[in-house]
Amino acid sequence: MHSSPQLPNRLARLNALSFGLVFGLLSGLGLWLASALALLSGSPGPRHALVLLRQYFPGYSPTPLGVWIGFFWAFALGFTLAVPTAWLYYRGVLRQITRVMRSASEAALTTYVAEIHVPFFALAFGLMSGLGLFLATIWLVIRHQPDAPLGPNLRLLSQYLPGYRVSLIGGLIGFAYLLLLGGIFFAAVGWIYNRLISSGSARAADSDGNPPH
């Protein structure tokens, strides 16, 4: 038993905020960079494609002011999606620690290399992917004007996700697809990462004569 039953929750919250900040920042920077490149290129193609994001980000456009509005929106969206995702992941990982696996030291606090817990990682990030598509779909359904086509661009996802359409049912179908496909994608990321760090620590242990962690 931990000295405080709330400790795993508190640490999960801390990590979730940290991950949310980083993910939000990278999302914002990604859109800022894409918009700035579209602005500098002078070609109308990328600008026409990016301007579709205005459906989700009011005020956004690939203009000098619009790139900053896009940064703000992408940061906010990235942060909002990433915090519950990371909280779910870290809470799952930390709450299952019920035994002491390695000797703790001050140095271990800053040098220990994280392994990704693949099932929690795939579940949390698969949920985030699914929820993201569900919300994107529902947003278009809610904002739909009767005289305009409903989500003509998002609908193209049905090329990859048979049965998907821009409707409430389509949103649920999209959620299920991305929960599965996102789960597979992030499970692959976690699996490759773990393989790489375990082979790295095995090599380090070989050269030091120590067992790998």
Partner: protein, 125 residues
């Protein structure tokens, strides 16, 4: 606090503040994003090959990526290029993510240590 609960707390702290290894995250995200872009291109190409009538333009929306990834188009060569671009972009994302998360943890712990030292000194006085 018993010795066992203290050790478990230490275990929690170690796991919560564990570092991500940037090269490993770069390779894993790079491989996954590269395969994703290759797969997205390949699906459109295969669907066009299997279509009963010739397709006028394959993946006009996905080929917009060519504005950002020079040379990329919805062809088999473009799919190969997409694999490479995806690896590079996913890798860059992995490095940035690992470094920023590690920096965030480092700064948090550094600030915590600073506060603890300060309170210890003030208590001693």
């Amino acid at each position: 606090m018993t010795e066992r609960s203290g050790a478990l707390d230490d275990q929690l702290l170690i796991q919560a503040f564990a570092r991500l290894r940037a090269p490993a995250l770069a390779v894993s995200l790079g491989v996954a994003v590269g395969l994703l872009l290759f797969g997205a291109t390949a699906v459109l190409l295969v669907r066009a090959m299997l279509a009963p009538a010739p397709v006028a333009a394959i993946g006009p929306h996905l080929s917009l990526l060519g504005y950002y990834l020079p040379g990329y188009q919805v062809t088999w060569l473009g799919a190969g290029l997409g694999l490479l671009y995806g690896f590079v972009l996913g890798g860059a994302l992995g490095v940035a993510m690992a470094l920023l998360l590690n920096l965030n943890h480092f700064l948090y712990l550094w600030n915590l240590r600073r506060k603890i030292r300060r309170s210890v000194i003030l208590d001693a006085l």
